[in-house]
């Protein structure tokens, strides 16, 4: 049943969000701490476990795959509802701060990727 997969996906998200909110309260932070990431972990665990086979195999699995495939269209809709006008009306300071933060962060990707990677470099073709 397709809905079993969708229900499992929903349960993972809600459980993750609840834990994320609780983490936020525990840390005294006004934000959800990693709710989506925790939900993803639940889904990974469920899809790798035998106990949940009935909820992730066959038709049930297609219920999850459908939403996974809807990801890009949803992201396009998300782009279309961004407050792009406000972003550019913030003036030069906002632009410079945003651009500089992005450049420095991009530059750090190859540097930090090396962490914990030294033992497994032989696997990489480069």
């Amino acid at each position: 049943m397709i809905v079993y997969g969708v229900a499992l996906l929903s349960a993972c998200l809600i459980l993750g969000m609840l834990i994320g909110e609780l983490l936020g309260v525990a840390l005294g932070v006004q934000a959800n701490v990693g709710g989506v990431g925790i939900a993803m972990l639940f889904l990974v665990l469920a899809s790798n476990s035998d106990k949940f086979k009935a909820l992730v195999d066959g038709a049930s699995g297609t219920g999850i795959q459908f939403w996974s495939a809807m990801y890009i269209p949803i992201v396009v809709a998300m782009a279309a509802r961004q407050n792009v006008v406000a972003a550019f009306e913030g003036g030069m300071l906002a632009v410079v701060a945003g651009v500089a933060a992005v450049i420095v962060s991009f530059a750090l990707v190859p540097v930090i990727s090396k962490i914990g990677n030294s033992g497994t470099t032989s696997e990489e073709s480069q």
Partner: protein, 252 residues
């Protein structure tokens, strides 16, 4: 016209599915014909979305881009946080636990490094622009982390509303830039495997930016980047009004 509006408004989400589908079809057509597949179709679709959001915002004066146009209100629901998170979690289906473990440490390091580096860059820019008040500098620095961390930090510290607006703008610029630039620089920064995607998500942190940037680069990398990115805002909200503010206060 009135009938059209009634039907569109009553079925807003369905209209959104049709409009987004059409946009993606046009984008893939353009990617194929004009760029011979060099630019990913979804990158064009996302750019079109942002462009439409700009004109939508200009036309309506609202804050949610195209979604403020009555006939396209469903875009707001389809592209809202609930659907975005639902679809992001779904992308984790089929991810191997071993891949996550391999990049675990680098992923955690990248989240803290990402928050601190973006904050420092934003704060330095604020100082260069003549801000000396620690609250303002911290708020603008937090805005360079993400557009959520900025206002959360600003309101915790009691910053003025124009400073908070500035921090939101800085975060929005960052998010939009990550969406557009990621597919262009992916090769240069080695963004082609799950590990570097996790580090990328942790360093950039803006969930929207990472989500769209990776979608336009390689959809297979999405779950890895999204996984770390979703912890970033929480860590930012944790560090911003506390340790980072104390450090800024001590320096200025």
């Amino acid at each position: 016209m009135e009938i059209l509006e009634t039907v569109f408004v009553r079925n807003s989400l369905v209209v959104a599915f049709a409009v987004v589908g059409l946009t993606i079809w046009i984008s893939y057509f353009l990617a194929d014909k004009l760029t011979k597949g060099r630019i990913h179709g979804s990158a064009i679709a996302i750019a079109l979305g942002l462009l439409a959001a700009y004109f939508g915002g200009k036309a309506t004066g609202g804050s949610t881009g195209v979604a403020d146009i009555t006939l396209l209100g469903g875009i707001g629901l389809m592209g809202g946080g609930m659907m975005r998170d639902f679809a992001i979690v779904a992308t984790a289906f089929g991810v191997k636990l071993s891949e996550l473990k391999k990049a675990g440490l680098a992923g955690v390091v990248s989240i803290f490094a990402g928050v601190i580096v973006s904050f420092v860059v934003g704060a330095v820019v604020a100082v260069l622009y003549g801000y000396t008040d620690p609250v303002a500098v911290t708020t603008i620095g937090a805005g360079a982390v993400t557009y959520i961390v900025g206002p959360v930090t600003g309101s915790a510290l009691g910053a003025d509303s124009d400073i908070i607006a500035l921090s939101v703008a800085a975060g929005l610029i960052k998010s939009i830039l990550v969406m557009i630039v990621t597919p262009m620089v992916a090769k240069t920064i080695g963004l082609n495997n799950p590990q570097s995607a996790m580090v990328f998500g942790g360093l950039m942190g803006t969930t929207s930016g990472v989500a769209a940037g990776l979608a336009a680069t390689d959809p297979k990398l999405v779950p890895y980047g999204a996984m770390t990115a979703t912890f970033y805002t929480g860590v930012g909200c944790l560090l911003g009004p506390s340790i980072l503010f104390i450090i800024v206060d001590a320096i200025l």
